[in-house]
């Protein structure tokens, strides 16, 4: 492992892995994620949570591009995820949820959902051609509310009731109930790795660098020949793409789409994941969703426990969730604005330089 900065050319600095040992360690780390299900049997409840974390990671990639690297707040990310989910669900409703397109061509469906999400992202991002971040927040907020209205009131979307999506087929035949979560764990893991490398490489390209430049100073970026407006609109499109993919996979995993997973509260939850993980940091996209989903689980346990102890008819979980997410957003912004990714950075440099302090 490299203990310091020994670059002699810019090309070296641009590499993803600085040494072979770094790459090897990363490969081992990745392999462990693929191999552990062969040794440990996890109950389907926890497998589902794991799958949900991975879906959230994909969505947070997108939100991190917009909010972290682009500096634009989006409070409509759950709606973009919803666009992806409803792309699959609506097609399932039109052609039947057991149709061969839904069950066999699911990778194409997921891609199509991503593209649909990207189109909506472009449309919502259009005000970016003229405006700065405050107004874009309003644009995403109104998209979120319009989405909620459209899904909640229109018959085509079953008025927000659950729309079923059939089980998918793999080479070995239909993916049954017993292996459903494990199958999607692998699909999600492959997607997360591919998209993760995609994001990492995107940030090394001309576009990724201009995105960061526009965030830091849009006027200077403009003067250097970048187009701040198009850069931002494109960031929204990319965020929509990631969200759409996450949504389609969520629809397949939950075997359908319902209204309540795409509300404003969910959008704030995605924002909390991004902030807690670390704005503008790729490792943060993994830490944030994991931390928030675990917190969510703990809050549910706490609510269940308190519901037994307290003679109360209230549903504590509906209150505790927004309370804890809001609190964690505020606390992280006040005391650790760079998120868990910063702790990871400190830990890594500590391990690299051990036994020396710095």
């Amino acid at each position: 492992m490299a203990t310091g900065n020994y670059f002699t050319t810019y090309r070296e600095e641009q590499r993803i892995f600085f040494t072979h040992i770094d790459g090897l360690l990363f490969a081992l780390f990745l392999a462990s994620f693929f191999l552990w299900p062969f040794f440990i049997e996890l109950s389907s409840k926890y497998m589902l949570i794991l799958d949900n974390i991975l879906i959230a990671v994909i969505a947070v990639y997108g939100l991190n591009l917009v909010t972290g690297f682009g500096g634009l707040i989006s409070v409509g990310h759950a709606a973009f995820v919803g666009v992806g989910a409803y792309t699959v669900a609506c097609l399932a409703q039109i052609i039947g949820d057991q149709h061969v397109v839904i069950t066999h061509a699911w990778p194409l469906m997921i891609l199509a959902a991503g593209i649909t999400g990207a189109v909506f992202g472009f449309i919502v991002g259009l005000p970016a051609l003229r405006l700065k971040h405050l107004y874009l927040l309003m644009a995403t907020l109104s998209f979120q509310l319009i989405f909620q209205w459209v899904v909640g009131f229109m018959d085509f979307f079953n008025q927000g009731q659950f729309i079923y999506v059939g089980r998918v087929f793999w080479f070995t035949g239909e993916v049954g109930r017993s292996v459903h979560y494990r199958f999607w764990y692998y699909v999600l893991l492959v997607t997360v790795v591919m998209l993760g490398f995609g994001v990492r490489n995107l940030l090394r390209t001309r576009y990724g660098r201009s995105l960061v430049a526009v965030r830091d100073n849009d006027r200077a970026a403009d003067a250097m020949g970048m187009h701040p407006g198009f850069t931002k609109v494109f960031a929204f499109g990319l965020a929509g793409f990631f969200a759409g993919i996450a949504g389609a996979m969520q629809a397949y995993l939950n075997r359908g789409a319902g209204f309540e997973t795409f509300t404003l509260h969910e959008s704030i939850q995605y924002l909390a994941m991004t902030i807690v993980g670390g704005l503008g940091s790729l490792p943060g996209s993994f830490f944030g969703p994991a931390a928030i989903k675990i917190l969510d689980l703990q809050m549910e346990n706490l609510a269940g426990w308190a519901g037994n102890v307290l003679p109360s008819s209230l549903d504590l979980a509906t209150g505790l969730r927004p309370l804890s997410f809001g609190l964690i957003i505020v606390l992280f912004l006040m005391f650790e604005p760079r998120g868990i990714a910063n702790w990871w950075r400190i830990l890594r440099s500590y391990v690299k330089l051990w036994p020396f302090r710095y």
Partner: protein, 297 residues
């Protein structure tokens, strides 16, 4: 015709409450350039505090209305003091995200109380028989609500135009550095802006609670409609907030009066403000009365 007039009257009633709510939002934006996303939650909190004081404590409503305004004044001031004071100088994006967090926190707290799931309504303290006016019906609550709203709007306009504190608030919104150099305490003005916003929010919440009853979903939706209102009026314009509030109220009433039920549409009143907002952002982002910022490198 009387149907039309009925819609106009109720549009003005709702719109003037929007105006009152929007004033607080504009105030915070004007003085500190922060979009306060938790404003709707402040309105809800004001409504619930009024209800608690009136019904559970048993204070006469005129007094409890004023008391809830004072309590929310200090509540908003302490929110500013605890959460936002230490973020002065941080990028504005993180301050806005803090208000998103606050929104979530207040939501959570309200869900933990009985108010989150049950409906309440204020006891009638005015005559309940409606007033007939040109073939339309108006309730006393609505009339009194509108009168209180306009009195408050007038009082605040006077406050900003004439009083020393108001003038210093306008000075800070104009140029922070310059106002610091002539001896205005900028953090104090920020705190005061938040506190005043809390005051107007509580007033709006109290009036709204009397007119439509206390349902958290309704109050929540009401709080979010403040955003289209302020964008329509221009983010930093107080008269704009008043005009836009009334326009939005009328639009909503006409939508629910004429669009709903026809062509298979339903609930358009909840949708239309956001479509207006998206279109405005594309074509006239500075609203009706907002200042056009000119940026130079």
């Amino acid at each position: 015709m009387s149907y039309f007039l009925q819609l106009v009257f109720s549009g003005v009633v709702v719109g003037s409450i929007y105006a009152l709510a929007a004033i607080g939002f504009v105030l915070i934006y004007k003085s500190s350039r922060v979009l306060n996303l938790a404003h709707g939650q402040l309105i809800a909190a004001g409504a619930y505090i009024t209800y608690i004081l009136t019904v559970w404590v048993g204070i006469p409503i005129y007094l409890s209305f004023v008391m809830s305004m004072i309590i929310t004044f200090f509540l908003a001031m302490s929110v500013e003091r605890i959460f936002l004071r230490r973020l002065i100088g941080e990028p504005i994006i993180s301050v806005i995200m803090v208000t998103i967090g606050l929104m979530s926190i207040i939501d959570g707290v309200i869900y933990l109380t009985p108010f989150g799931s049950e409906n309440f309504s204020f006891p009638a303290f005015l005559p309940t028989e409606p007033i007939m006016l040109w073939g339309t019906y108006l309730s006393y609550t609505q009339v009194v609500g509108v009168i209180i709203t306009f009195v408050l709007i007038g009082a605040f306009s006077w406050f900003f135009k004439k009083s020393t504190v108001g003038i210093s608030m306008r000075a800070v919104s104009d140029d922070q550095m310059a106002s610091m150099s002539i001896g205005i305490s900028v953090p104090k003005v920020f705190g005061l802006a938040w506190a005043t916003a809390g005051l107007t929010a509580a007033a709006a919440g109290g009036i709204l609670g009397n007119i439509v009853g206390l349902n958290f979903d309704t109050l929540h939706a009401f709080g979010i409609i403040v955003f289209p209102v302020v964008i329509l009026g221009g983010l930093d314009s107080l008269p704009g907030a008043v005009v836009a509030g009334i326009i939005m109220g009328l639009t909503q009433q006409f939508a629910s009066g004429y669009l709903d039920g026809n062509w298979g549409l339903n609930g358009t009143a909840d949708l239309l403000p956001y479509i207006i907002l998206l279109v405005l952002l594309l074509f006239k982002p500075h609203g009706l009365f907002g200042t056009h910022e000119i940026e130079r490198v």
